[in-house]
Amino acid sequence: MYIQAAAGISPQRSFEAILMQPECYTGNRLTCCEPDYAQLIDPRMIRRMSRIIKMGVAAAKECLQKAGWEMPDAIITGTAYGCLADTELFLSKMVENKEELLTPTAFIQSTHNTVGAQIALLLKCHNYNNTFVHRGFSFESALLDAVTLIKEEEISTALVGGVDEITPVSHAILSRFGLYRKDDTGSAALLDVPGKGTMAGEGALFFALSDHPSGNDYAKLDNVYTFYKPADIAEVKDHIVSFLQRNELQAQDIDLVISGENGDVSNDAVYTALKIGVWNTVPAVSFKQLCGEYPTAAGFALWLAVHILHTGKVPGLTPATRPRRVLIYNHYQHIHHSIYLLTAC
């Protein structure tokens, strides 16, 4: 399985910009660096689009362009929260107006599959279109769907994306659950100064997945594996060790680990344990200081991984040799765990 192209809108401007000087954020959220959408999306379509839809459609378009594709065989998206701004808008109007004088646009656009549907509409693409909304597995479910469709030879190309947004309302509610830092650590020091809570993040990352090499692929996706609610760190270890065995690998065969620390002490204990117990000899980098914590953040990690394999450069690290094999491990709130294995092309 080849990743022919990757593109995204995230709190970082580009992979090159991360190598030079990553964007740093204060407070407790990282916000996407957004392009001028008017240059990217038809104005007739854009007028109804909320921010997340614009982010998703623009990222998808750029990905298709990089891959040189006109029409993918499948469009598959993952989003944990869906189109929050539209949901909140309709909900607020409904409460304020006591269910009277409501307009349809926000309701229509609040549907979880809007991003995938708008991409199909834009391309006039009649092919397979699916949207996964399973919290910290949303992106992985979408990717697994694409991988299995390709293995079944139902399709040979798929556009796969993970999309989630922070809105002032969602941030206020999630803050009340105690998810975010109350101090002024900021993103640059987030992982170096352990504390309670993390920083919120968001992003729209898309990938062009293909069953055949193009000669200029970003990376090869060897495997994706998820596991749900492991009992303890020992079970996490077991899953990872048997994942490596199934792929006929030992930890030292991995050139680089990209892991999902988010700066919250209780969240990060498992990463520390794995660093000591499983990949103690392998160089490791983190990614949530760049994109923040959100349910589809692994999409950003994958975007980072394919750029690392494509360019041979690793942000924040000078590797002895060009990394050929990268492993990503991430978990969302101890519930949703995922492992990705990639190799250079």
Partner: protein, 83 residues
């Protein structure tokens, strides 16, 4: 009619359109301003909100929303009289 044009632009978020760009008799749908069925529903709410006029069903909108002029005419004919 100028006010109505402004209201239409605002309700439908037609960012790049100015009131003077919309001709009084220019068709609002498809080949004209390019509006669709969702816009028709938005305009129904606009009539209700700004002019207290309630359309019975979405189909009625097709003739009412042909152009700004037909819409204005409909509003004049159907606006509840103030005492």
């Amino acid at each position: 009619m100028a006010d109505l044009k402004k209201q239409i632009i605002e309700q439908l978020n037609l960012k790049d359109v100015k009131p003077e760009d919309i001709g009084d008799d220019q068709p609002l749908f498809v080949e004209g301003l390019g509006l669709d069925s969702i816009d028709a529903l938005e305009l129904i709410v606009l009539l209700q909100q700004e002019y207290k006029i309630k359309l019975a069903n979405a189909e009625e909108g097709q003739s009412v929303f042909r152009s700004v002029r037909t819409m204005a005419q409909y509003i004049t004919e159907h606006q509840p009289k103030t005492v």
